[in-house]
Amino acid sequence: MDVKDIIKEENLVYSKTKLLTDNIMHYCPGCTHGVVHKVLAEVIDELGLQEKTIGVAPVGCSVLAYNYIDIDWHEAAHGRAPALATAINRLYPDKYVFTYQGDGDLASIGTAEIIHACNRGENILVIFINNGIYGMTGGQMAPTTLIDMPTSTTPYGRKTEFNGHPLKITDIIAQLPGTCYVTRQSGHAPAAVRKLKKAITKAFENTGKKKGTSFIEVVSTCNSGWKLSPVKANEWMVEHMFPFYPLGDLKDE
């Protein structure tokens, strides 16, 4: 059978969701953001929630997330997305509000906002991209940077006596009674992407049931910041990030 006989509309099994815009993403080749954006757009589309979803974009590489998913977006100040989402959720309790934040945004400058939004149990979804580095500003140390991991501000590696310890903020979030679902996922391999999609779907369903805060950490790569190829970055993540940030549900109530 010839390839051109296979490529027919009736044989289509996977194509870009219409909720992803046609804009070419500004992310580096191989960046996990693209995978998470895609899965998020697919879930919103499949659940039919385009008209009810409001996204809150962060500061960081995904500051321009609003260019890629065809929903209403509000771009927040660095770390403050959970505060914006709190207000939107309170003023529009029937909408589906999510924040999309990186590790510097969520676990450093925005620590207070995320802890208190989760502790209040705001009926929102938080997507937390943890790649252990500040990508947008050029590869500086993040709160989640691993011990001995080199960054542009820890060129000889992160040292605990000097820089403190990598912050497992998701473990802290899971302790908060306001959260209903706390999970750590990834998007490096097909099975991981499928699990990520299930997690995001469950989180949106939780919002619909008004169960409180759903929090999804996505252990991610920043191959440019890590100075590795996309494929090597995934391998490095599996070898180094997963042992410290193990995948799986921390809480599912």
């Binding site: 006989d5 027919k8 289509l12 099994v13 996977y14 953001h33 693209g34 995978v35 097909p190 992407v193």
Partner: protein, 78 residues
């Protein structure tokens, strides 16, 4: 006996040549082209189309969502 055949279409100009699809493919269908697209990326293509089963793995891991996947059940060919 029924056999599953697949095919992918890569949006060549949007592909950034990251190569994540190459390692995700269980049938070693995909390679990066020697040629580059307008942005200078060695884009992904089906180097070994007969082996494609349309499993969608490449499309799942593609960060730029440039892969469309087709699948069809056929009778086994000699």
């Amino acid at each position: 006996m029924a056999k599953v055949r697949g095919a992918i279409v890569v949006d060549v100009e949007k592909c950034k040549g990251c190569g994540l699809c190459v390692v995700a493919c269980p049938s070693k269908v995909i390679e990066l082209a020697r040629e580059v697209n307008a942005k200078g990326y060695n884009y992904a293509y089906m180097a070994n189309p007969e082996a494609c089963t349309g499993c969608v793995n490449c499309a799942l891991v593609c960060p730029d969502t440039v892969i469309t996947v087709y699948r069809v059940k056929t009778e086994a060919e000699a």
